[in-house]
């Protein structure tokens, strides 16, 4: 959008800069690049609608003729798709809600409140950002085990509700909001919670949506942690479920493709429906 507005508000500038030649070369490169990006998805769809012998044919069958919709029905018999789908939905929703609440509150306090040891506490939280996730994994596993939460959604969810990254991101966002509104609210007699809840949180919606989007993507797609805390297929989210299915059922290719398509479809649809927000959210998280 921004480059369009730039183009529109600066017609003269554009004429000067862009008189030389067209964008033909740019389009050629970008179209070739786009084909490389899109082809695997198209191929996934085609394979998911083919027979197994078509998938294994040489040369490849680029159009299966009879579309094998049955492959999608078979997904539900080769794996507990629905229960895995619900695990994925549950862990994602709870983690997003948890992070939005906890990170926005803590982020606000770090951005605006004054309290003892603020620097130390913030420093400890930021230090986590530098630590690779494997360092936490064994103790996290033990905690979940001791709570009796192995093979439960609660166990998958637990560590991921608390996010150092989300807290830092929300802090940066609140720092960027104008101080005047808050001071006015305080003068009007709002306590810190009311100021946060009524004034600042509504202003923080872009930051919150960025946080929510990043959390959805991470939670839906994450593999290592769910693989560690679940052993039974019906308790796994789709990511771990798919990986396990591939290990057990490695030769029924069209059904594997149908399953992978169904498993990643929700986030892909979400992305296509809210592209601008997702891209802005990722860009924002990158800027920090």
């Amino acid at each position: 959008m921004s480059e369009l507005t730039v183009g529109r508000t600066r017609p003269k500038a554009r004429k000067i800069v862009r008189r030389d030649g067209s964008h033909a070369l740019a389009h050629t490169v970008l179209i070739i690049g786009s084909i490389i990006m899109i082809f695997p998805f198209a191929w996934q769809i085609i394979m998911s609608l083919s027979t197994n012998s078509q998938v294994m044919s040489i040369p490849p069958t680029f159009w299966p003729g009879d579309l094998q919709w049955k492959n999608f029905a078979d997904v539900f018999t080769v794996m507990p798709f629905m229960s895995q789908f619900w695990v994925s939905i549950t862990i994602t929703v709870v983690r997003v809600l948890g992070q939005v609440v906890l990170c926005s509150m803590a982020g606000y306090a770090f951005a605006r409140m004054r309290f003892s040891f603020k620097g130390v506490v913030l420093g400890l939280i930021l230090a986590i950002l530098m630590v690779p996730s494997q360092v936490f994994l064994i103790p996290q596993y033990q905690i979940v085990q001791n709570l009796g939460w192995l093979n439960t959604s609660a166990g998958i969810i637990a560590p991921g509700i608390f996010s150092a990254f989300g807290t830092f991101m929300m802090r940066q966002f609140f720092l960027g909001l104008p101080l005047e509104l808050e001071e006015a609210a305080r003068l009007d007699g709002c306590n810190p919670f009311q100021t946060f809840w009524r004034i600042m949180l509504p202003l923080a919606k872009p930051g919150l949506s960025a946080l929510a989007i990043i959390t959805v993507l991470w939670s839906w797609n994450d593999l290592l942690w769910p693989l560690v805390v679940t052993t039974y297929a019906q308790n796994m989210p789709l990511s771990a479920g798919l990986a396990t299915l591939q290990g057990q059922n490695a030769t029924n290719y069209p059904v594997l493709m149908a399953a992978s398509l169904l498993a990643s479809a929700p986030v892909l649809i979400l992305f296509l429906a809210m592209q601008r927000r997702v891209i802005d959210g990722i860009a924002f998280s990158g800027m920090k």
Partner: protein, 316 residues
């Protein structure tokens, strides 16, 4: 878009000087509220992240019995670490993977500058398509690439055969398997890098290009002498992220190669080795030592990068 400006405005995180209360007396003017706001998060962070760092460090000096229980064995895990050929191999593999994915950064710089040309049509459509691999589930996408890479009937080898090239068994050949994983990682990373770099490109003033254009500088020269130098902070950021993510290689390897792949033993990454030792072999003490090794390595790499950035990154 407004997000970017806000983020920038917020970057220098300093409270106004006048607001700093004196250390004694009124040091907590917000009363109990900061505790209410921070404590829930901090408790969780302490339990699930801070304390585990110490625990893992401790575990790395212990050996775990088959039936649970662990004994302090000092540096035993670390001496095993130093002599285990798997570790050197996994470290080398992790580095190779990271280097290949880093090769995608210049590609992303070029593509981002093309997509962000003023007045380019379909630029949003292009951006969407390039970003799609980053959004898709890595497990699902690796399963598709496993089919594409298949040595017998994969479509990649079919395309190569059109040029008279006999394609190899990509994911089951030692050495090549890791490169196949890295190319997949590169393919996924392009879209993300483009988004970050595009945000950086938008910060470059149009006037610079106008002036260069009037002076008769070609587009390529503008790219080399305006775009790239002014984009170095974003390029640096993208490289740091790529290296950190490179050290985390697991999902793509696990799914593209599969645990029973004969090429896995020579293609595994540090994180895969960690997972295998800790949770499959159940040698959590040794796993903890591997985790600490990764921590130290990531720390060194990040420090080195920040040290050398002054040589080539231009902060305006």
């Amino acid at each position: 878009m407004s997000l970017n400006t806000v983020a920038k405005a917020g970057a220098p995180g300093r409270a106004p000087a006048g607001r700093r209360a004196s250390r004694l007396g009124r040091s907590n003017p917000d009363g109990i509220w900061p505790v209410v706001f921070v404590l829930p998060l901090f408790l969780g962070v302490a339990v699930f992240y801070l304390f585990p760092i110490i625990q893992t460090a401790y575990f790395s000096f212990t050996t775990w019995g088959v039936f649970g229980g662990s004994t302090f064995t000092g540096l035993e895990n670390y001496s095993k670490l130093a002599t285990d050929p798997q570790v050197g191999r996994a470290l080398l593999n992790t580095l190779i993977y990271t280097v290949v994915v880093l090769a995608g950064v210049p590609i992303a710089v070029g593509l981002a500058s093309l997509v962000n040309r003023p007045g380019l049509r379909f630029s949003k459509t292009y951006r969407t398509m390039f970003f799609l691999p980053y959004v898709a589930m890595p497990v699902a996408i690796s399963m598709v690439w496993r089919m594409i890479y298949n040595g017998d009937f994969g479509v990649l080898n079919y395309f190569l055969s059109l040029f008279g090239i006999l394609g190899p068994h990509w994911v089951s050949t030692d050495g090549l398997a890791l490169i196949s994983v890295a190319l997949l990682g590169l393919w996924i990373s392009i879209g993300f890098n483009m988004i970050i770099l595009s945000a950086g490109l938008k910060g470059i003033p149009v006037e610079l290009y106008e002036a260069a254009s009037i002076d008769g500088a070609s587009r390529f020269r503008q790219f080399r002498q305006i775009t790239v130098p002014l984009l170095t902070p974003s390029i640096f950021f993208v490289m740091v992220i790529t290296i950190i993510n490179g050290f985390q290689l697991f999902d793509l390897l696990y799914t593209l190669l599969g645990t029973t792949n004969p090429a896995m033993a020579r293609s595994q990454s540090l994180v895969y080795l960690f997972y295998n030792e800790s949770f499959i072999q159940n040698d959590k003490g040794y796993g903890a030592a591997i985790a600490i090794l990764v921590l130290v390595l990531v720390g060194i790499f990040t420090a080195v990068q920040f040290r050398f950035q002054r040589r080539w990154v231009n902060y305006v």
